[in-house]
Symmetry: C2
Subunit: 451 residues, 2 copies
């Protein structure tokens, strides 16, 4: 038998685990109730795990005394996120819960967009003066840690105008002679980001430089705060999520899948589908335009679906590869010509492989299946086979080029390259794919070689 | 006029910038040459920026003395990555460049897969004993920093069996009474990961707990090393890249787009396209099967492309949303029923919107355009319109369900849900989409209401 306190602890752990599992299906009142039933240790851990949106709703559902306690447990950058997620009429109430100094800091952060370096940064960082000795620096940092500085792993050296002049790691301070000046041991080759820099660009700086934190400076070079790598982990995940959702042809959901309401979900998804549907109706006119010739030649309508899906597949592949390469900074706008040449070759080579498969398929089917007693495609089966093969090469090359270049066009227009979604590229290459197929068919099958 | 040393420095900076820009198009010899022309400061920064693969090639191209210098500049986990990227016959040569102690550490790391916590971790971390005083701990850490410990931001408290019993942040040590025992101030509520844990799961731990580093333990609870948030930034980017490339219908490239050779690129892309092409040829048989009825009824072939692209678009949308929600841990295998119900509703609602658009389009076209003097679709235009509308509802619902559930099926089979690519879902819903369309058409247009 286990002693009672251990049992209570096990109960507690089960409770927190249960709350985590049920979270997405609970209504706001049940969430608050479940949260208040946790022990303070469990509640604190739980509170730090959930998103800013969930924190905002949770805090607003609590009695005022508890509100004050929970919002003050957060660092200023996290408070700013919570305030931004709260309904606009509740924001001033939340700000009123803060002490004067934190409120000033949070206000400064709210001036930046959520997805800029300034919106991500923590304004509390460890600061030193260049003329301090190492010994003074260490005891000065020691005092700063009592004032809720988030991180003392790097200390930033500011001159009298708050300009960032260098950085020392705590490790360097520990290893240096005690009487050396901070100025002598600090690094002056600094990686910094501007407060208005987009978070995607900030995440590239982190990925390239392998740093745990980066100082944020304003246009005058005055230090404003630090962004730490744990925030960047979240940014990278968010940005990838947005790109993937756009590539799939919907707007970015901006919340976990199961937490988005049905109406909200429809709004995010129906828009692009309607645009694509109108694009798709163009195929009706195009096929209608060729209809008489198709009936004359025979068999062509059976290949329509195969030919256009082939172009769509090649296009989806090319566009996702280019979109991702752009997001990672591997491919820039000026590389468009290299990508064009490369994808022209790739599209043609892939088309040749698939076209050959198409030809083989027609030859095999012709000999194996029958259409009213005679071999399936009649005497002209090799001509029909060649028509299909050349059409596949044509639509694959075209689809690949459309998919590869559309992200460049979108970026050039100042739009998000990820909007070159797989369905959009497929729809764009559908219409042209049909024109390519019927033009080649008519040229080969009703030309001089036709019966 | 600027003094000569400043000019030289500017030249130097231009050189490093040029090398970065040209890197992807340079051949191995030019890369080595360009790298050796950099000043030592620039070269060091450049070396830390490039990927493990590039580092491996660069080191192998240098004279032996420089090889030793550059490989020793790396932390053991980075050395292990370089060794893993090098051709197998060069690996023992690279290992021979290391000092005895590092070689042992690197060998231990190589026992783990590159994408496990053990393959990501750094085996050098700051360690303390629980019975030390704070004062002893601080000076002990001070000595450890001289021995290349990567990070002293957290110090890990190990008992005599190397079992992890607690963690103290440097900040806590600095704030504590000097004569307190480490045991009294350490945190014992530990977030740890197992050495064999997959890197995607490790990145979720970081995202949830907002930590700068996490200790790695073996099956017996003995501490093996630490994973830091800067490594996780890279992991999150890599995993998202793989998912996006799979969603687009190619195999993961595993290298920057412009650095993948043409043949290698074809191998990654042709496989799925061939599989999808064979899937696509099934539409030829299906349309062939219905051909006589289609000709009898008239107009139907003009709608084929529109109807199936509609199903493909709905499916791509649903599958990418579910794939991403799974990768983020928002949706688990056991949630399949909730997703099914949700997507059944979503697919039907989206289909209803699109079906209505389709009906409107036919009514408008009928009255605006002519086919041989008479209104376009003849007397039965409302019947044709309803056929299209019901078919769109059918294929949208079906495409959405296929797209939403395929990731669950793949995960259940132990495969990567991201393989439910947009082109695969589109191809799967093409065949069934055609069957749905023709079945509905035949039921409505050659049924009792037909002329």
């Amino acid at each position: 038998m286990s002693p009672p306190d251990l049992e209570a602890e096990a109960d507690q752990r089960v409770q927190a685990e249960d709350l985590r599992d049920a979270w997405t299906v609970l209504d706001p009142t049940d969430r608050v109730e479940g949260f208040r039933a946790l022990s303070s240790g469990e509640a604190e851990q739980f509170f730090l795990e959930i998103s800013a949106l969930d924190r905002a709703h949770l805090i607003l559902g609590l009695p005022t005394i508890e509100q004050r306690w929970w919002i003050r447990a957060l660092a200023p950058d996290d408070v700013a996120d919570v305030v931004q997620e709260a309904p606009s009429d509740e924001r001033s109430k939340l700000m009123g819960l803060l002490d004067e100094a934190t409120r000033r800091e949070v206000n400064a952060l709210l001036a930046y967009a959520e997805d800029e370096a300034g919106g991500l940064m923590n304004p509390r960082f460890a600061r030193l003066r260049p003329e301090m000795t190492v010994d003074e620096a260490i005891s000065y940092l020691r005092r700063q840690t009592r004032e809720h500085v988030e991180s003392i792993y790097y200390a930033y050296v500011l001159d009298e105008h708050q300009m960032l002049v260098g950085v020392v790691s705590f490790r360097q301070l520990m290893m240096a002679r005690r009487e050396a000046k901070v100025r002598e041991i600090m690094n002056t080759e600094l990686v910094t980001v501007h407060a208005e820099m987009d978070q995607e660009a900030v995440s590239r700086v982190f990925a390239e430089a392998d740093l745990l934190s980066v100082p944020v400076v304003d246009a005058q070079g005055r230090m404003q705060g630090i962004v730490t790598a744990d925030d960047i982990v979240d940014v990278v995940r968010e940005e990838a999520t947005e790109d993937i959702q756009k590539i799939g042809g919907s707007a970015a959901l901006e919340a976990p899948y199961l937490q988005v309401g049905f109406i909200e979900m429809m709004k995010k998804r129906a828009g692009w589908l309607c645009v694509l549907f109108f694009g798709g109706t163009m195929t009706v006119s195009v096929i209608g335009h060729f209809q008489d010739r198709i009936t004359q030649i025979g068999y062509l309508e059976t290949f329509i679906a195969m030919i256009i899906s082939c172009g769509g597949n090649c296009g989806s592949q090319a566009s996702t590869l280019v979109i991702r390469a752009m997001a990672l900074g591997e491919v820039r706008l000026r590389d468009w010509w290299r990508v064009f040449v490369r994808e022209l070759g790739a599209g043609f080579a892939l088309g040749a492989i698939l076209g050959l498969l198409g030809l083989l398929r027609i030859i095999v089917w012709h000999h194996v299946f029958e259409d009213g007693g005679a071999p399936m495609y009649g005497e002209r089966y090799l001509l029909i086979g060649s028509t299909v093969a050349f059409s596949v090469i044509g639509v694959s090359t075209w689809g690949t080029l459309v998919g590869a270049l559309l992200p460049f066009v979108l970026r050039r227009l100042g739009l998000d390259p990820a909007s070159a979604s797989a369905p959009l590229v497929a729809t764009l290459s559908d219409v042209t794919g049909i024109v390519i197929f019927f033009s080649i068919s008519i040229a080969i099958l009703s030309g001089p070689m036709a019966p």
